[in-house]
Subunit: 136 residues, 6 copies
Amino acid sequence: MITTVCRNENFNAAHRLHNEQWDDEKNKTFYGLCNNPNYHGHNYDLTVKLTGEVDPESGYLMDMKVLSDLIKAEVINRFDHKNLNLDVPEFKGLNPTAENIAYVVYHKLKLKLPKQLELSVVLYETPRNYVEYHGK
Amino acid sequence: MITTVCRNENFNAAHRLHNEQWDDEKNKTFYGLCNNPNYHGHNYDLTVKLTGEVDPESGYLMDMKVLSDLIKAEVINRFDHKNLNLDVPEFKGLNPTAENIAYVVYHKLKLKLPKQLELSVVLYETPRNYVEYHGK
Amino acid sequence: MITTVCRNENFNAAHRLHNEQWDDEKNKTFYGLCNNPNYHGHNYDLTVKLTGEVDPESGYLMDMKVLSDLIKAEVINRFDHKNLNLDVPEFKGLNPTAENIAYVVYHKLKLKLPKQLELSVVLYETPRNYVEYHGK
Amino acid sequence: MITTVCRNENFNAAHRLHNEQWDDEKNKTFYGLCNNPNYHGHNYDLTVKLTGEVDPESGYLMDMKVLSDLIKAEVINRFDHKNLNLDVPEFKGLNPTAENIAYVVYHKLKLKLPKQLELSVVLYETPRNYVEYHGK
Amino acid sequence: MITTVCRNENFNAAHRLHNEQWDDEKNKTFYGLCNNPNYHGHNYDLTVKLTGEVDPESGYLMDMKVLSDLIKAEVINRFDHKNLNLDVPEFKGLNPTAENIAYVVYHKLKLKLPKQLELSVVLYETPRNYVEYHGK
Amino acid sequence: MITTVCRNENFNAAHRLHNEQWDDEKNKTFYGLCNNPNYHGHNYDLTVKLTGEVDPESGYLMDMKVLSDLIKAEVINRFDHKNLNLDVPEFKGLNPTAENIAYVVYHKLKLKLPKQLELSVVLYETPRNYVEYHGK
């Protein structure tokens, strides 16, 4: 029996989109308001999805409490109430677009999860803008 | 034209996670609060997804009213305002984890649906914990 | 400057509506499915609202973290993953209707909050059924 | 790096389900309330999903502002506050079921999007009834 | 013990804003897209709030099932899948703005509810536009 | 006929809670994570409520499009994708707590609205933390 379990967590962070290879003019034109040098911020909603075999003995694919604790240790405690550009080393030199945040979250979690589980990450920057990343 | 139609229904039920093969100590340690012998409960949200060919004459894959009535007859009327462990025969000897509830719902509906339609079930135990099952 | 701050928390519990003064027939007719002797359950959503003067020095009416911790200590830790009828002493002899749960929550919190703050409690039994109680 | 970006927009429209090949009796029996000759309406929620390679320079799969502007130009400005049957030429002779609306939206957007991006459309007719279309 | 119980129901309807005392030009300028002669529509969300004394015997202010049935009989069955302008007699000569719909719903329900209960009506035309009416 | 119309808008901003009269130690202890010197951020949800007489001719208390445009001109365009502490002059010397943001929004809008309308402002910092301000 193959199933997918999903857990939602969230974090509130500041960020700025800016490519250091481009001049200020190009950054401002391309990223618009998201390039504000003083940062802006979001309530990010994160859904982590794991696909694999359900353990017939426990009826669990993975204990949701264990999954929640892992997401908190690896992601929430490091991103929440932070400035992604300045406070989170993974974004030194990597633009914190929703696409890149999902990529970073995926790889931080992948390292700590049982190898046989397939991982997907859904990251909502706002209720209307979100990104799905499956590790490909 | 292949499409997927989705219908959301819900039911409110009590349940308890407990493996009769394990002693009380192990159950308590493993399932934590979910092992409370007096039960706890949830507002379960259920989304049923059907994939198949749209009928060009009616413009429907399946009449949503018919689908809703089927989900009510097979699932909601049997699970709503019930104790899943005590009142629902499918969970005699099967732990009502979200994974197992999705499995039971899938197989109850599968029997009654046109064979050519692919079925998926999404079961929300809370807005933050949910399970997807595709029958594999 | 008078304002209202609001904090949402939630708990998942089993309950049963049953009046011990009435016979089984009357209970079943009056409470319908909610009278199921084996209990059913809900994801309860609780909003606590406090009205009072904002402290001009801190810009806070009350620290939301402190308010959240108080709600957890007084309500969530005692109601979550519990059977309200059997596990929560406040409902010995008091029917755990949404009206009565809101009443109990109000009075538990009122005792611990600064006297000068006006308190309201909103309790969602489901997203479609909820109760507001202002202590009158 | 392959990812999926998703953008939500919405429109409010009237519609009626009616097959001109069928007599009134059959239409009424089959479509029920949705066949009301004077129309009814919905707040439609539309999610557009694009899958493809993230541009490593910008960190974007596609600029969400550009995507939003495209959805507005192609869909929202033409469907919002309209009668789908009478005001939107795509539904002359095509029943505006959720399945068919998703199909029309898909093909209007597909024409204007970069060819290498995979497109999916999710159309909510109500929060409980929705359709997913992937262009197959 | 004075409390407020709230029940949410919904209906899907077409409508058009148009003042027959005004010429077409003025109607179009004033109501904009909402004046479309072919109508548009919404998923209306309705919350009915009742304030009064809780019955100490039952623990209910009013049975939510009874309240839901009343709202369905008086409002939902008459408004759902209808054209408010053409199919609902209360809007003959009364513009179906959200303000006026809330007014009509209030007075239809008020007639059927126990006199000692205070009534409020909240009507969502969209998730972003809504109206509250307390009968004053 | 007195009614209340409500309009929801939103903005995404960075902020930091810090009292310049206090030393760093006290700020850090009191505001916790919210004192991060590099800022964090939120998707703020703003509901503006206006109470007054409905115009019997138009059926409107106030045109929602006009209200939306006013909120955008006065609040959204000035706060969205900004750093509230650094980019918004109203918060020079005023801590951008939810309480103070609601206060500032209220007074900016009050100046531009018809005097006979009563104004309330609801500001969601997160879906679980929000503030209501009625101008008292």
